[in-house]
């Protein structure tokens, strides 16, 4: 094993075997039940569809690792998308301006969350619930409640393909890869686990807890901003009411992937598996033309079942 490989990799994969198994079973079933699931074009499709949830899930993994939570993801996605779209009218600005403004919006929201949690000493649930309604309100205010349309093709093309691969997927892969390296190999990454595992003890060992948390919320905000930009490019508008309940899907993916909501335990790899599982279920149920009523029931049962299998197997 080279020095670059975090030693946690193998054990994590083993720990997450339950999820991998469920994923394979479902994929196998879908390949048999439908002609279209196991085609290249559909798999690209799945890849494209999971990207936004994937970016959000990786972002919120950082926050969950510190023992926090971020309920504002969906609203901040909408706000960043709207801000990005406002600067993306054709001929207005070079491409980096709308992208930068979208990311900046996300970062600012994230940092504000972080400051309120660390300096204000307010529970993350409340802080980010507040941000959830505030960001939604701001998105509606600055857009006047209407979609911000007329985006330059340069930006909307970001939802297209680069070679055979969708650009959103590339973003997700890049984000996941860097985060994986970061958590496994960087000091700050290690500190994130320490703070989530035992905040007092981390402090006693010289870790600057507020700084670490601020970083986690800020990074999560940055990635949320990125998700907002990618979404705006994908739907070619800044949609003030977009992203409803995205936080739930993202957090679900992270928790399915084995990250503990009380902090200190988890991995990006698990998160990616969780994102895949949710993505495949959503895609598969649509391909099978399952009625949306039953879709809800089936999806709930599969998610709970997968986590149950996973934990049972991890215990034995």
């Amino acid at each position: 094993m080279t020095a670059l490989t975090p030693p946690t990799l193998d054990r994590n994969l083993l720990h997450r075997l339950g999820i991998v198994a469920v994923l394979f079973v479902i994929a196998g079933l879908l390949s048999v039940l439908t002609d279209s699931f196991a085609t290249a074009s559909n798999l690209t499709n799945v890849a494209r569809q999971i990207s936004i949830n994937g970016i959000l899930a990786v972002g919120v993994t950082f926050v969950l690792l510190t023992g926090g939570v971020d309920l504002s993801l969906g609203s901040v996605v909408a706000l960043s998308g709207v801000v990005c779209a406002l600067f993306a009218h054709p001929g207005d600005h070079p491409l980096f301006v709308p992208i930068g403004m979208g990311l900046l919006t996300g970062v600012l929201c994230g940092l504000l969350n972080g400051v309120l949690v660390t300096r204000g000493g307010i529970a993350p649930f409340i802080v980010t619930l507040g941000m959830m309604t505030v960001a939604r309100g701001l998105a509606l205010i600055i857009s006047g409640g209407k979609p911000v349309a007329d985006m330059s093709p340069a930006l909307t093309n970001l939802s297209g393909d680069l070679g055979p691969l969708p650009i959103p997927l590339l973003c997700f892969a890049l984000v996941a890869g860097l985060s994986w390296l970061f958590l496994g190999r960087f000091r700050l990454g290690r500190h994130l686990y320490a703070v989530g595992g035992n905040e007092q003890a981390a402090r006693a060992a010289g870790v600057s807890v507020p700084q670490v948390k601020l970083f986690a919320y800020g990074l999560c905000g940055l990635l949320t901003g990125l998700a907002g930009v990618v979404l705006a490019a994908r739907i070619t508008t800044g949609q003030p009411n977009a992203g409803q309940a995205y936080e739930l899907d993202a957090i679900a993916a992270v928790v399915i992937g084995g990250t503990s909501l009380s902090g200190g335990v988890g991995s990006v790899l698990g998160t990616v598996l969780g994102v895949l599982l949710i993505g495949v279920i959503n895609n598969g149920l649509d391909l099978l033309s399952v009625s949306s009523y039953y879709q809800a029931v089936i999806k709930g049962v599969i998610i709970v079942g997968a986590v149950w299998l996973d934990r049972r197997q991890a215990r034995s």
């Binding site: 020095a3 946690t8 190999r185 960087f186 320490a194 003890a201 402090r203 006693a204 010289g206 200190g264």
Partner: protein, 491 residues
């Protein structure tokens, strides 16, 4: 009355207890002795219904029984004082003490007046007077430990398992506990007792069983053992010298504390610490020793006064400051302020010293691994691998990891708050030797301990704290336990 028959337990393929068979009789204090990780706590936890045995049976009054939960064992009359403190932080002392057996009135409501009355009377048994209305989180570790003991007494069980009940206690409370144990023995209660304090065993135990590496080595009447033969049984070899002689002479002043105050915990504390000096801090439970060293270590800064390092006043507002200033600390509260339970041994070990294992912001895994290997060997840390989660280690081994952590930064000043709490005699000897070595290398050591022999044998000077104030400065060569206690007693 209670019999462990061929009890076996494995954790993740690692066998920690193999076919241990021990009888416990009523009216007898049965000591379980063994090194850290020998399996004492594991055996007790199986008897108390916390872990199901992987093999063997538990016989209770001649019948095999199965305990699926602590509740089953409790209802049979088996109670336990746990090695790890188990406070419910936001319930008050009385509620913690009588948890699960709250007195109820005719309406089925908890009778609060009665609850507090009962709690107070159990605490009185242990010669302790605590406000039973205050939440558990306000208590010091020692006070929590007293509550834990009272909790087990309150069950009025036929068997009481005590897993290192005195680890955090000073002599005063220990004496009270022993009085209580004597009463229990007279009442025909079987007491199972674990400790790493040698003198205690011979004071209370009627019979002694020794465990070594998960195997039962033997059971004999206490009078058949001498301290040395007992140690030899536990360790498997002769341990000749426990305390190394104090040979070094302190150098120049490296730390000076002037009028340090954080009322009401401590007031006007002034002292100096020299290179290579071991300074002992003695006092009764709640005297404020932990609070003073927490102020120096940055955990809970003082509100007034000055800390001078090498002559320059230094602001220590958080532990990171202290570490940067060359102050290392091992806290008294291993669980709360020490370990990160879910992280591996390796990651716990290197946490405070990561900058020295990284290139820029990136951790150098190879350097980290070799440091871990070195520490594991130096401190004889028993872990199945460096990747094992630290929460799976025995208490003593966790403590060793924390000691090793504090030393990785090569601090000029090392603060040790009850460093041998829960550590076996062999490891204690190692730590004592380590303190000697560090002092010889010029490290200044501030040692807080409730074990007076430690303080008396290891230090150059002793400060006695009484109710948050400095009561005396003594020379260990010219004083004794009685004199220290006389200064420490509240007046």
């Amino acid at each position: 009355m209670l019999r462990a028959c061929q009890l076996t337990k494995t954790f993740g393929g690692l066998s920690v207890l193999q076919e241990a068979t021990i009888d416990f009789h009523p009216g007898e204090v049965h000591a379980l002795m063994g090194e850290n990780g020998a399996g004492k706590s594991t055996l007790m936890k199986m008897l108390a219904g916390l872990y199901p045995p992987d093999g063997g049976t538990i016989e209770w009054r001649g019948q095999p029984v199965r305990f699926d939960s602590p509740d089953d064992a409790l209802s049979q009359g088996i109670a336990m004082v746990h090695q790890e403190l188990m406070p419910i932080p936001d319930l008050n002392v009385a509620e913690n003490l009588l948890l699960g057996m709250e007195p109820v009135n005719a309406l089925g409501w908890v009778d609060r007046a009665e609850l507090h009355r009962q709690a107070r009377s159990w605490l009185k048994e242990l010669n302790t007077d605590l406000d039973t209305h205050q939440p558990m989180r306000r208590l010091s570790v020692a006070q929590m430990q007293v509550v834990e003991i009272a909790k087990a007494l309150a069950r009025q069980a036929d068997v009481i398992l005590m897993d290192e009940p005195t680890a955090a206690l000073s002599d005063h409370e220990v004496a009270a506990l022993f009085k209580a144990i004597t009463t229990l023995r007279r009442r025909g209660v079987a007491v199972v007792y674990t400790t790493h304090k040698m003198d205690e065993v011979f004071r209370v135990a009627d019979r002694i069983s020794v465990l070594r590496d998960g195997k039962w080595v033997g059971t004999k009447a206490a009078i058949e053992f001498s301290p040395d033969s007992l140690i030899a049984h536990m360790v498997g070899r002769e341990l000749t010298q426990i305390f190394p002689p104090v040979t070094t002479t302190p150098g120049e002043v490296i730390l000076e504390v002037r009028a340090l105050t954080r009322a009401p915990a401590f007031r006007q504390i002034s002292f100096t610490l020299r290179r290579g000096e071991v300074l002992g801090l003695a006092g009764l439970m709640g005297a404020g020793r932990t609070e003073v060293v927490s102020a120096i270590g940055g955990l809970a800064p003082a509100t007034s006064g000055e800390i001078c390092l090498r002559g320059t006043p230094t602001h220590v507002t958080c532990p990171a400051d202290a570490i940067a200033a060359g102050i290392g600390m091992v806290t008294e509260d291993r669980k709360g302020l020490g370990i990160i339970p879910a992280l591996s041994v390796e990651h716990n070990l290197t946490l405070a010293a990561l900058p020295s294992f990284s290139r820029g912001p990136i951790i150098d895994a190879a350097a980290e691994r070799s440091a871990t290997q070195a520490a594991t060997t130096d401190f004889a840390i028993k872990a199945s691998s460096p990747h094992q989660a630290i929460r799976e280690l025995s208490g003593g081994n966790q403590q060793k990891v924390l000691l090793a952590r504090a030393l990785l930064n090569r601090p000029a000043i090392l603060i040790l708050d009850e460093p041998t709490r829960g550590i076996d005699i062999g490891a204690k000897a190692e730590i004592y030797a380590l303190i000697g070595r560090l002092s010889a290398q010029g490290t200044a050591v501030l040692l807080v301990s409730s074990e007076l022999p430690e303080i008396l044998s290891l230090t150059h000077r002793i400060l006695v704290l009484r109710q948050g104030e400095l009561a005396a400065e003594l020379d260990p060569r010219q004083t004794n336990q009685e004199e220290i206690l006389r200064h420490a007693m509240p007046r």
